[in-house]
Symmetry: D2
Subunit: 254 residues, 4 copies
């Protein structure tokens, strides 16, 4: 059972709890026809013995041996975008990530959030430094991930210097933060110069339909590399708990 | 463990699955201060021995023995309407109820639904007949539950006759339904004369915050008596799975 | 200005109010780059005179004459599913439709609804009778719209008889309704035998993104013919108020 | 007509567009009884001449002269929390505020957002410096707005020094930002040390019900002073466009 997956230099993603299953999704979908989940059996039709992979139920014996329908039904739900049965399962996670990642994450309005608050407690001094390899990933094709017009070609040496500059300004920010707190500046104001690269922590909950919508956007090449690492970690957990749905999701992304 | 609770003459409500717990709610709320769930212990403070019921943590020893804070925190979340931690738990149910109850239910837009469909399968011939006792509950104070202006005083005898008339027209509707289906009327049209008193079936899922919002409206005296019976059954399940939250909810309703 | 569009035998759809415009959608999208709406001009680039249809802004003069970008930006938003700018416009309608249509409609949880209530007032005696032509549309390919197994081939004569039977049972239901109301049965119970073919009335409001999601599902061949007529009417109003967005939507459906 | 309201040192809030009105809210609520908006007339009942302020319609003549009911209906909707009619009106605004204010704002998941993105464009160098008067507002009663345990008493002199330190670290952050951009660091990484006190800009849209829920939380004393200034500005716009609803809202907050 996957527990805590390390992400970036100081972040993590941890599965707190999941509910539902691939079977429950089929059961919910079968409400429309008054039936429930039967079994995944993908062998020959128990009624007529034919190996038939097309359509729901066995075509050879005209659906009389329809116990094999569940594999097909799940596929059809996914490919035809019958999305509501996927709302009958879900996942709660805990995640530590830089504030700029949470800024993107919180735009997903179908999740529930409980986050650490700098109004209640001083934020721990944990900040994100991108690796040199990461700094050198500069997409020419992705406008958002690109450089400004007229920028120089980034070199490894300059990437090292940028890391050093980050460390320096992060340290300075922390010093001012501690001084301000001690001097009696209210917590909610003492933190306003803290960088968006500082780590925060939250719990997030959503149903499976909405997690998959999140992953569709955040595993995409157009998403920022950092949030993609978190999305991939969410994907690992979903793959473990909902393997059949995950197989359909990854198949659909190709 | 409560499973299937009978409701009305042919309905039921069944707990399929719940997630989270009173403890998980506290844990999620504690994200804001970077702490988690400790324990419910309501005895004397383990640090200083004082019995102190006010505020979060032990006041006598200035919070050093704050393990007793969880009881107080849950109460404070509820009374101060800090609702998001209650989104970290939830419940999936299956319910069989008359269509007119589902019409009210589906106005709650924060739940997920998968319902039986008359477009996919002929609806079973199960219909709601209110009991005579129920027919005689006529609220003088509740406009919605009242009679039209100038109506007679309902007698027990007339209530019996109304039951009989319902049985008659329900039977007639079923006969026409079966005839129409056999005659080749598409399923989606053969059902348009079916009464809103016919039973349907669905799965519904929501987080605890939204279930409690549902109950606030649907356990209320202003709600129709029929949906109130279903709301009470949801309440029984919540009481069993989330006893501390339930205690606060019922306390708040008085 | 389109006002009240008749739908089915006794229904209608009426535009109450819309907000936003194709221009506002572009303005909102341009928040991300700090720019606003410029103009739709689709002629040659005013800066360099070149006719250039590719990409945002004029490629020939490297974006210096970017006033033509708005046409392209709107298209890119739509085709790349950048959906949030389409939430900055919307539409309020009033609609009269059979209850079974509202049952499907209310599954769309992103709309706001205010509907006539049989608990507050006796429902007017207006009921849906499908035309013979409509009854004879029986999809062989669409399972939901189809007949039950073993059904006869529907003839025009039988369709006429079904219409007659509907009129008969509708009248009977109305008679019982009036008798029950007069006899002192509470309004909320006197209506439980009324058919799902009876008309109700509501106001519905949603932003444009969610109206288009509604139309994607409800203008589809898999949707019941009746709700499709209402969806088409919504489409007529959107076409009038948001012509450029509508053009992209219809283009995308082909 | 209110347009752009200045907020904090460099922020603003601007009304882009509103829809609906106090009258439309009444019209929507009257869907339940099949009636519409009549008039606000608060003088004597036109049917019987009596001055009657209680209940919906005129009590003296038993509702026959019910034209005065609209004032009472709006009040009853509000006080009894019949919230859905307030979803039939709404407001689109544009707002410039520090990132830490947007972090709180975006937790409201029923609004639509389009925000400036540092992935698309370099963020303008505009940063928040709290006034000395603001720095000295230190709530003893509000835990979130308070200082850390053991902090000194904040003096005016130290507040000046904190302002100066903010200016210094903001300038340093901007210098590093510009250097990094020029050196070829991708825009999405060159900004990770920027402070949460930097201003961003967005459009936000919501219906009136959800704006009022936002104001209930964000005009409250427990909300951070900065977001309260923005909430007050939203209130000014709502007061102007929906004066009767606003009067009920403010009355209810006392």
């Amino acid at each position: 059972m996957l527990l805590r997956i390390p992400v970036l230099d100081h972040g993590y993603l941890e599965a707190i709890e999941s509910w539902g299953s691939d079977e429950r999704i089929v059961e919910a979908a079968r409400m429309s026809t008054g039936k429930g989940f039967l079994r995944w059996d993908e062998g020959p039709c128990p009624a007529c013995g034919t190996m038939d992979e097309q359509g729901p139920g066995c075509h050879a014996c005209e659906g009389k041996g329809s116990v094999r329908g569940d594999v097909h039904l799940l596929r059809r739900l996914w490919t035809m975008k019958h999305a509501t049965p996927f709302e009958m399962a879900g996942l709660v996670i805990e995640v530590q990530a830089p504030i700029f990642v949470f800024r993107e994450w919180h735009r997903h309005r179908t999740q529930s959030y409980n986050e650490m608050s700098a109004r209640y407690m001083p934020l721990p001094n944990v900040n994100y430094i991108p690796s040199v390899a990461r700094l050198l990933i500069n997409s020419k094709t992705n406008k958002q991930a690109g450089t400004v017009a007229g920028a120089e070609e980034l070199t490894e040496g300059v990437a090292f210097i940028f890391q050093e500059s980050l460390r320096h300004i992060y340290a300075e920010a922390e010093t001012l933060y501690q001084q301000a707190l001690r001097a009696g500046i209210p917590k909610e104001l003492a933190r306003i110069h803290l960088p968006v690269g500082r780590y925060s922590r939250m719990r997030a909950s959503a149903n499976l339909r909405n997690w998959l919508a999140f992953l569709t956007l955040r595993m995409d090449q157009a998403a920022q590399w950092e949030i993609r690492q978190y999305a991939n970690a969410v994907g690992e957990i979903i793959a473990e708990r909902f393997p059949r749905t995950w197989a359909l999701f990854t198949e659909g992304r190709k």
